[in-house]
């Protein structure tokens, strides 16, 4: 049994103009010490997925169905009190923008100590000692002095180190990192990512890394999911998906990478843009942009625009696409015929 099992997770936002389904049928697992990447455009539901694991979605949003099992416990529907013991303790989070994540009016030390004290019966002095040790681990220069500083006295990169230190404070089983380097200077991004990877490996911490950067995913994670319009459309070992993407959307993403284009030529964009969640196309949400769904004569493939594709297994990956399903079907039938 995996450490974390997410099954058919459904998240909706109850807005005045109606319900918006932000997440549908999301399933994945995470083993102890495993590193999983969640990839997709902004608005695909990556962050919602991350926040809903700990039931941290803001008010109009709620978990409409599905389950999140962590270490044998069901997290959806768990009382806030019980969830509090898991948040920051066994599963901790790293947010996107370090400039906004730390409370501007509390010292770094205060924000670390309170987290320790929320989960352990511990003396202040002892908590400070642990905080100091964690700050050393994230390689902050003069960690002792940092404890009494306020966030605005630190640079963005340093603040993100502090946040990583906070995430590691209670030696969690899983860290959920929501685009941890997007808001940072390019020069610091690699440094922070390397640090995070190193610490996760060293302490055998599971990592759920949310990003739109395929390069980072391929370097850091072992498995990945690709999300589109609130659904997972492809998942499997990172290496396999990167080398041989099956879903037309994932293929498009890979082709759009600058290194895939010949110098001097236009980058290979996916035509169109992701639909908004309150106005999804019927069938496969990707079909209006999909080369496979559009036949050569301009008509659309009926299956693609009426049926939501189920998952089919291709190699070690799972893909939700009619085209892939058909291909597998075609391959299997001749194989069966020859054996007959």
């Amino acid at each position: 049994m995996s450490l974390l099992e997410v099954n058919n997770l459904d998240v909706r936002f109850a807005l005045r103009r109606g319900e918006v389904k932000a997440l549908r049928d999301v399933c994945f697992t995470l083993d102890r010490g495993e590193r999983l990447g969640i990839v997709g455009e902004s608005g695909a539901g990556k962050s919602v997925a991350a926040f809903s694991l700990l039931n941290l979605i803001a008010k109009p949003g709620y978990i409409a169905g599905g389950s999140v099992r962590f270490d044998g416990q069901e997290l959806t529907g768990m009382s806030d009190r019980a969830l509090r013991r898991i948040r920051g303790h066994r599963i901790s989070m790293i947010f996107q923008d370090p400039m906004m994540t730390l409370n501007p009016v509390l010292t770094i030390g205060e924000q670390m100590v309170e987290c320790l004290k929320a989960h352990r019966r511990i003396a202040r002095r002892e908590a400070r000692a642990i905080a100091l040790r964690k700050l050393e681990q994230v390689q902050i220069p003069s960690p002792e002095a940092r404890l009494d500083q306020y966030p605005h006295e630190l640079s963005g990169g340093m603040r993100q180190r502090v946040i990583i230190a906070i995430a590691l404070l209670l030696d969690p089983d899983i860290i959920i990192a929501d685009e941890p380097t997007t808001a940072l200077d390019v020069t610091i991004q690699a440094e922070i990512m390397a640090l995070l990877l190193e610490l996760c490996e060293k302490h055998n911490v599971g990592l759920i890394l949310i990003t739109h950067d395929l390069g980072v995913v391929s370097q850091v994670t072992q498995r990945m999911l690709v999300m589109y319009a609130g659904r997972v459309i492809e998942q499997g070992p990172t290496r396999e998906i990167i080398n041989d993407p099956q879903h037309p959307y994932t293929q498009g993403l890979m082709n759009a990478l600058p290194q895939m284009a010949t110098p001097g030529e236009r980058l290979n964009q996916i035509p169109g843009s992701m639909p908004s969640l309150d106005n999804l196309p019927s069938g496969c949400a990707f079909h209006p942009r999909c080369g496979f769904a559009q036949r050569a004569d301009g008509s659309e493939r009926p299956a693609c625009c009426t049926q939501v594709p189920g998952f089919v297994t291709s190699g070690n990956c799972q893909v939700a696409c009619h085209m892939v399903a058909e291909m597998i079907e075609r391959e299997r039938i001749p194989a069966e015929e020859t054996t007959r």
């Binding site: 700990l54 941290l56 803001a58 806030d80 509090r84 013991r85 898991i86 948040r87 920051g88 303790h89 901790s92 989070m93 947010f95 996107q96 923008d97 906004m100 994540t101 730390l102 409370n103 501007p104 009016v105 509390l106 010292t107 309170e114 987290c115 929320a118 989960h119 306020y150 605005h152 006295e153 946040i163 906070i166």
Partner: protein
């Protein structure tokens, strides 16, 4: 921090300078001390001599400097009406006003913070909606009208029976809207002497009773503003990333609301609100008029009525000073609470 202090102090001095120029201009143009000192029968030549002697024919700047030098020593001359140094007259009336403002401030702080925080934490609860509804009505009622209504309800009393008195619920409702009256609503009663010119209403039950209606009236003007301000700021703070992060850390809601969110909420509230507390002094003019509260506001109106120019000028200077002091204090407190101020000298 030093640079910050110096800057604030400079600003305060500048404001006091502007006020003193205005006050002097008033005195120079409206007040004719000769008129007050001598009767109508004195011939013009003698007046002119007196003018020369008093330096009233000196250039504007010289006269202003003399005025400013005296003002710095709290010497503003004699009140025409009381025939006493104006500062003494003010000193007699100042404690009443300050006590009224203090009582109102107490009410505002004690009520606005919990109500504002509650209606931000539970914006959809019916109680929050009630608070918001009452507060917008409160903003729309001028302070003197609140005072009048309070007098009608609690000093004079209301007895009416619009509901059928022969039914149980009707009698109950009639009872509910009938008020006894009898609350003291005029003057200060018999305040207890503390020292000098300071008599206090806080030291006896009787004194406190006299304070109730004026203080509620005065508080009623700012309370809704503060509730709405605190609620709006808190709502904004609760949306912030650091509050989400605090939740992700597994902190108790109580700690998140009352430490993480409230501390950030109070920063803008201190700047906006602190200044508003200062302006309560202005509203005391209205409250004191209605309740015949013998404070500076009532004295000021009286001085206007009787054209007691030196007293008017002194009042303006003193009130100006009070405003400047509260503003500077507010800035200082803000600087102490907000850690980002120290480095840059101004809020980042």
């Amino acid at each position: 921090m030093i640079a910050f202090l110096v800057k604030r102090l400079f600003h305060a001095l500048l404001v006091m300078f502007v006020i003193s120029v205005i006050a002097f201009a008033i005195q120079d143009n409206l007040g004719d001390p000769i008129q007050q000192m001598v009767g109508q029968s004195v011939p013009e030549s003698e007046r002119e001599a007196l003018r020369e002697e008093l330096g009233l024919n000196d250039p504007f700047l010289v006269q202003y400097l003399r005025f400013a030098a005296n003002a710095a020593q709290l010497d503003f001359g004699y009140s025409y009406v009381f025939n006493q140094p104006t500062t003494e007259v003010i000193a007699r009336h100042l404690p009443a006003t300050l006590e009224l403002v203090a009582a109102a401030t107490f009410l505002i702080v004690v009520l606005s913070v919990p109500i504002g925080v509650y209606s931000a934490i539970k914006p959809r609860a019916w109680l929050s909606r009630c608070f918001m509804g009452v507060s917008i009505v409160g903003i729309s009622i001028p302070v003197f009208l609140t005072a009048i209504v309070l007098i009608q309800l609690f000093a004079i009393g209301v007895s009416w029976a619009p509901f059928p008195a022969d039914t149980a619920w009707g009698a109950w409702l009639n009872d509910l809207i009938t008020t006894e009256g009898g609350m003291p609503a005029y003057g200060r009663g018999n305040p207890v002497h503390v020292f000098g010119t300071w008599y206090t209403n806080f030291a006896s039950l009787d004194g406190l009773l006299y304070l109730v209606l004026p203080a509620i009236s005065l508080a009623s003007i700012m309370l809704p503003l503060f509730i709405r301000l605190i609620r709006a700021e808190m709502l904004e703070v609760l949306q912030s990333e650091y509050v989400k992060f605090a939740r992700a850390k597994g902190l108790r809601l109580r700690r998140i609301y009352f430490l993480h969110a409230l501390k950030n909420t109070m920063l803008p509230v201190i700047t906006v609100g602190g200044v508003q507390i200062g302006t309560l002094v202005a509203y005391t003019i209205l409250t004191e008029t209605v309740f015949q509260w013998p404070g500076m506001g009532l004295m000021f109106l009286d001085a206007i009525e009787r054209s007691d120019i030196p007293l008017i000028v002194t009042y303006l200077m003193i009130v100006g000073l009070i405003f400047v002091i509260t503003n500077t204090l507010v800035d200082l407190i803000y600087g102490l609470v907000n850690p980002t101020v120290k480095l840059t000298g101004k809020p980042a």
